[in-house]
């Protein structure tokens, strides 16, 4: 067998060998491509969080007060030892930026009279950092009060970012 034939054969083998891995990768089902039916709590508390966000954007202190418990505080990932108390938080809103962030990937964990609502707060400019927010809401009858917010910055293109739009 001459050299050219050997090279052709080797080349064919390499090509086919590569196609094994490509073929297996393509043949693994990608079941994470789904269209979900959101839960009733995701819908209700998603709407509630959006209403709170709108009140923040408008610096509507009266409305914001109706959402927050009297001992509300926020703890941020950059300084978890320094909670932001209710009054400081509201003052910050009055003075803060009015960028309309988008809520994505909402989840609600039902613990009875406490609901843990988490979501990704996304900036319109995709190059900006996102914020992961975890809110604890206390339910009393028909009323819900936000007791505490935990927030942390999510670096852009975090490897564990999920991508179901909810």
């Amino acid at each position: 067998m001459n050299r050219i034939k050997k090279l052709l054969c080797l080349g064919l083998c390499v090509y086919l060998f590569n196609s094994i891995h490509t073929g297996i990768a393509e043949n693994i089902p990608n079941p994470k491509i789904i269209i979900p039916t959101v839960t009733l709590l995701v819908k209700k508390y998603g709407d509630l969080e959006k209403s709170l966000q709108e009140a923040i954007l408008q610096a509507d202190v009266k409305k914001i007060n109706t959402y927050l418990s009297t001992d509300f505080e926020e703890r941020k990932g950059v300084d978890p030892n320094s909670p932001i108390p209710r009054e400081t938080w509201i003052q910050t809103i009055k003075n803060g930026s009015k960028i309309n962030r988008i809520m994505q990937q909402i989840a609600v964990r039902d613990l009875g009279n406490i609901l843990i609502v988490s979501y990704l707060s996304v900036m319109p400019n995709k190059n900006d950092e996102n914020i992961f927010i975890v809110d604890a809401w206390k339910i009393e009858g028909e009323k819900s009060e936000l007791m505490v917010r935990y927030s942390s910055i999510v670096p852009h293109r975090h490897p564990n970012q999920s991508h179901i739009k909810v």
Partner: protein
């Protein structure tokens, strides 16, 4: 030296042929399940697909009415009598003694002829041919007693469907919509109850596009996945599932490969009306209902009417 060279050449050739044979056998074996290549999701490189922030442009065509929801060129189901969708149930887990079997079997058997399902006739394929008001339920559901355990990941659901097809319990049906219905002791760990009550997707099995859905038992989280604790058929879990089944069916028929009917927010028809029930009546046990299928009453969410500027409705006459 010449003999050694000939021997080397022969060995080389045999090695090459062996590698080729191995390659072909692995490829054949691995072709059983494939992702659907027509999905509009863009890869993230992270193992997830995401509905594109730049979705396919909608098709502007006067023969395709678009009222608050838009057509993006992909196939729909059931525009001819030969392609009427066939609903299959896979009862996964322990459903022994649960009235859900009768409640949801009756639902699937009759939903295709309802004025509720008639809403889907306002949707068309790319030629402007409307979806037909019909759904088949060709055979009783099959039972799967925990073939993949009691804690299922999202990826396991398609495997459950594949198992049912490969074992010949269910046919390989390109017009099929395969529902995996899980019992209350089975958890789907990728977001059931915390994010969603069900979902639909598509995959390829034996080179055939297969549409399937997951609907979890609402008994696991009634406050998340059931509209009411007292339900028309005295089974709030099953009655909650009925509405989610309707939701997933509507969306699978109008957007089976995630590239047909959805709006500018990426919402499919039933998404636009999620958890909205419109006009209801009161059943003898005090629960609400808005649909009657055979002997049973159900409370089912509204669906998006693709006519008259678009709206959520209970029915279309």
């Amino acid at each position: 030296m010449i003999k050694a060279t000939k021997l080397f050449n022969k060995s080389f050739l045999i090695s090459c042929l062996g590698l080729i044979a191995t390659t072909m056998s692995i490829s054949t074996e691995a072709s059983v399940i494939k992702p659907d290549g027509d999905s509009i999701f863009v890869p993230t490189g992270e193992g997830w697909g995401v509905k594109s922030d730049h979705p396919l442009p909608s098709i502007k065509n006067e023969s395709i009415p678009q009222h608050g929801i838009f057509y993006h060129g992909g196939p729909v189901m059931g525009t001819t009598t030969a392609t009427i969708p066939n609903v299959y149930y896979i009862w996964y887990g322990n459903w022994s003694g649960n009235t859900a079997i009768n409640i949801l079997t009756n639902f699937a058997s009759g939903i295709g002829s309802t004025t509720y399902y008639n809403i889907n006739t306002t949707y068309t394929n790319g030629n402007g041919t409307p979806i037909i008001r019909a759904v088949n339920f060709p055979k009783p559901g099959i039972f799967d007693h925990y073939s993949h355990g009691s804690s299922l990941s999202r990826s396991t659901i398609s495997s459950i469907v594949a198992t049912a097809i490969h074992s010949n319990e269910l046919p390989l049906d390109p017009n099929g919509v395969y529902f995996v219905l899980t019992s209350a002791d089975v958890n789907e760990t990728s977001g059931f109850c915390s994010q969603y009550c069900g979902w639909h997707s598509s995959t390829r099995i034996n080179n055939t596009s297969i549409k399937y859905a997951f609907v979890g038992n609402a008994d696991r989280c009634l406050r998340s996945c059931a509209a009411q604790r007292t339900s028309p058929n005295n089974n709030p879990g099953a009655d909650g599932m009925a509405s989610v089944i309707a939701h997933e069916l509507e969306e699978t028929v109008t957007d089976p490969r995630l590239n047909a009917w959805y709006d500018n927010n990426g919402e499919e028809n039933a998404d636009k009306c999620a958890w909205q029930f419109g006009k209801t009546q009161i059943a003898p046990n005090g629960s609400k209902y808005n649909m009657t299928v055979g002997p049973n009453k159900y409370l089912v969410q509204m669906n998006w009417l693709n006519a008259n500027n678009g709206m959520c409705v209970n029915f279309k006459l």
